[in-house]
């Protein structure tokens, strides 16, 4: 990414530019802030203008009040609130002002991303309830039913508040970011090569996607050409990650529809892939293998992985066929949690969720990276936008992933697995992957010593959590768990 691809915008024309973007079929991807110099905040907007075209990046100095773009482009609301929380920068006419990443109980004297914020100064957090919409009418009849942050079973921490009237859910408001660990700030000041282990631990079950997006961002900044074998193996790793995540998804989805054998089968298949991961890399989560410039060490999957995956595919096909023929399972999925195309677009749904609502986007095909140019994936879409459509998209992706891995194994070139690279001081880069849950972006900025000055992570769950509540309003409690499972959300990546 070079400076001339970046368009500088005055705050006054921001809204108009965003409207033009939407009108011309483009789509906003994310917004973030950073400090190019102390006391000077710069806003960045990243947008896609179409498949195969480079991402559009807008730069906007935040020296004067910035108008909120949330009404033009609703998905930006969370990004703006995040910037307000972490950078102390307020947006004009934000339609939903209020805390997001830092909770209501956090008392802030200084924004945590301010360069003057003392390192390791802990935030002061008092327990405080979340701000919810006001209730009118027969408000005493509405139960404000809370779940969490410590929820039943083994789940990630998040607090859900249901406006509940006995089975019916009037309104649903999740409060996330209990797990906000300040991961983006941890990158700052690190040598770019040493931050890969950090990226791997932003979201445990997205280790490859995160590390790969990070590596590609740094490689973009340093114009590094990754050797072919490493690129092919990166595809292999990314697709293995997709496999175990999607298999887990089916195990959990069947858990919510109380299909016990199917739950066991899904989780068993997930376990088998995790054990294949261990055999492949020594890590069940495919960690400690990616590096900027390629891979840390070579892998030798050709002799054994193909047969293992072939038998896994047979087993999965039978499993999927059974699921698609079980009326009780389908009854609970079809029409549940319907997400229409408009809502999916407006709020920025991503990955299998948006593809199930008829939006045909996949970064692997539209903005190929690693070896996806040589190995184009089959992208499945559905139109219905319900839980069943989301499951079907993932079902197709499992098959596509296995086929893609088989092709990697067939075509895997020999050669080096690592290239030398050097980051130019003050440069920046954008990296992305299509993770199992959707689009993942890493934007990296380097300081004048070539160290990381700012890393922004846009995880897919940040987008999908934004969308999900709109499918819960006016639905049933009985469908809630199924609906949530059908989105396949994770919280760690969203909270960071």
């Amino acid at each position: 990414m070079t400076a001339k691809e970046i368009k500088s915008l005055h705050p006054a024309v921001l809204k108009e530019t965003a409207e033009n973007l939407i009108a011309s079929g483009g789509r906003m991807q994310m917004a973030y802030a950073w400090y190019p110099q102390p006391h000077r905040i710069e806003l960045r907007y990243v947008a896609s203008v179409g498949a195969q075209a480079p991402f559009a990046i807008w730069r906007c100095d935040a020296n004067e009040p910035i108008p909120s773009l949330a009404n033009t482009c609703p998905l930006l609301s969370w990004y703006e609130r995040e910037i307000t929380d972490l950078f102390g920068l307020k947006f004009l006419d934000q339609p939903q002002p209020g805390r997001l990443v830092l909770h209501e109980g956090v008392s802030l004297r200084q924004a945590p991303f301010d360069p003057d914020y003392p390192a390791d100064l802990p935030l002061c957090v008092e327990p405080a309830l979340q701000v919810v919409p006001e209730l009118g009418g027969s408000d005493a009849d509405v139960q404000l039913l809370p779940f969490g942050p410590v929820r039943a079973d083994v789940f990630e921490s998040a607090e859900f508040l249901f406006f509940y009237v006995g089975e019916a859910i009037l309104h649903y408001q999740p409060r996330l970011f209990f797990k906000h660990r300040g991961m983006e700030k941890r990158f700052e000041g690190l040598e770019p090569a040493r931050a890969v282990v950090l990226a791997e631990r932003v979201s445990g079950i997205g280790s490859v996607a995160h590390a790969l997006a990070y590596c590609q961002a740094v490689e973009a900044a340093s114009n590094c050409i990754v050797p072919a074998r490493a690129r092919f193996l990166r595809v292999l790793l990314a697709e293995m990650e997709r496999l175990y995540n999607h298999l887990h998804y089916f195990g959990h989805l069947c858990h919510t529809t109380t299909l016990k054998v199917a739950e066991a089968e899904g989780k068993l298949l997930e376990e088998q892939v995790k054990q294949l991961n261990t055999r492949l890399t020594g890590s069940r989560f495919l960690r400690s293998i990616l590096a900027v410039g390629g891979l840390r060490r070579d892998l030798s999957p050709t002799s054994w992985l193909g047969t293992e995956l072939a038998s896994l595919q047979d087993r999965f096909l039978r499993y999927a066929e059974h699921m698609e023929n079980t009326a009780s399972h389908l009854d609970r999925l079809i029409t549940t949690g319907k997400l229409d195309r408009r809502l999916a677009f407006d709020q920025g749904a991503t990955g299998p969720v948006e593809r199930a609502s008829g939006i045909d986007r996949d970064l692997r095909r539209d903005h190929p990276y690693a070896a996806y140019t040589e190995l184009p994936p089959m992208v499945a879409t559905r139109e219905n936008g319900d839980a069943h459509a989301r499951a079907q998209v993932r079902m197709a992706e499992v098959n596509a992933s296995i086929m893609l891995i088989q092709r990697v194994l067939d075509l895997l070139p020999d050669g080096a697995i690592h290239a030398v690279w050097k980051v130019a001081p003050g440069s920046e880069g954008l990296g992305w992957t299509e993770s199992p849950r959707g689009t993942l972006f890493y934007a990296v900025h380097f300081d004048h010593h070539g160290k990381l000055a700012r890393v922004k992570i846009k995880s897919p769950s940040f987008s999908n959590w934004r969308v999900f509540p709109y499918t819960v309003h006016d639905s049933n409690m009985m469908d809630y768990a199924i609906n949530e499972a059908s989105f396949g959300l994770t919280i760690a990546g969203c909270d960071r």
Partner: protein
């Protein structure tokens, strides 16, 4: 519905015989904690201490030939970087994952320590065949949750060991915590511990919960469970694999002995 019953029956028993009988635990080729061989250590080298992202390895001021490194396995995130940079092979990869320890000191590398670690105490005897766990995610990366969820897959089948996860801390005997304890989760975590009936115990799972790990400190995170609630068992790992979690739980119940002592596995 019958096709599922048939599928289940045809699949046969999928559960690993381990730990009740000899057999696979599913962790072959797993890269565990790096093993330290002090006799190979180069006196002047500090590559491992430099590269370690969580400062688990520190150089002692007194640079004697042996024992010149302090290795805190409670801080290790198993990234294998030290094994890659070590020029002499003093830090090597290993499959050591059974790192559950009753005291934090047992996780710190010491030479020649062979003291037999203590058992859990009389009170736990009653829970040996029926233990109920409440899990709290205090800010983990979801890796630990993924492995905890794996415990109830047919391969590990935790239920057969009489160990269950429960929805409410009211019914729980053991609090299982993952994550470095973010400031936002500190209150709910304490409330969960407070809500448990006595006797109650705490198990820190994952390097984050033991010491804070990669997400230690900063503006949003704490330093694991130390100083938050009393911990009865530590299990580092990033994340610990399901077998390691099972082994730690059985160890907590005195059904298997503690294997780690002085930062190394005792067979």
């Amino acid at each position: 519905m019958p096709q599922w019953t048939l599928l289940g029956l045809l699949q046969g028993k999928q559960t690993a015989p381990w730990p009740l009988a000899k057999g696979t635990d599913g962790q072959e080729d797993f890269l565990g904690m790096p093993r330290y061989r002090p006799e190979l250590c180069d006196n002047e080298c500090k590559a491992c201490a430099d590269i370690c992202p969580t400062k688990a390895i520190t150089i002692r001021a007194s640079s004697g030939a042996s024992n010149r490194l302090d290795i805190d396995y409670g801080r290790c995130i198993v990234c294998q970087l030290c094994t890659e940079v070590c020029p002499t092979g003093a830090m090597t990869t290993s499959s050591d994952w059974a790192f559950g320890a009753r005291s934090r000191e047992d996780l710190i590398w010491k030479s020649g320590s062979t003291k037999n670690p203590a058992t859990g105490g009389e009170m736990r005897r009653a829970f040996r065949r029926s233990l109920h766990i409440r899990h709290v995610d205090a800010g983990s990366c979801n890796g630990c949750e993924s492995e905890l969820q794996a415990l109830n897959n047919p391969f590990y089948n935790l239920h057969r060991l009489g160990i269950f996860f429960t929805a409410s801390p009211r019914f729980a005997d053991l609090l299982l915590v993952t994550g470095p304890v973010t400031h936002a989760m500190l209150g709910p975590l304490r409330a969960t511990y407070e809500a448990m009936a006595e006797p109650r115990w705490v198990l820190a799972v994952g390097t984050c919960a033991v010491s804070g790990g990669i997400a230690e400190g900063g503006y949003a995170s704490g330093h694991g469970l130390s100083g938050v609630i009393p911990v009865d068992l530590y299990l580092p790992g990033c994340p610990p694999n399901p077998a390691a979690i099972i082994e730690a739980l059985l160890m907590f119940l005195d059904r298997v002995p503690q294997r780690v002592n002085g930062g190394r596995l005792v067979e």
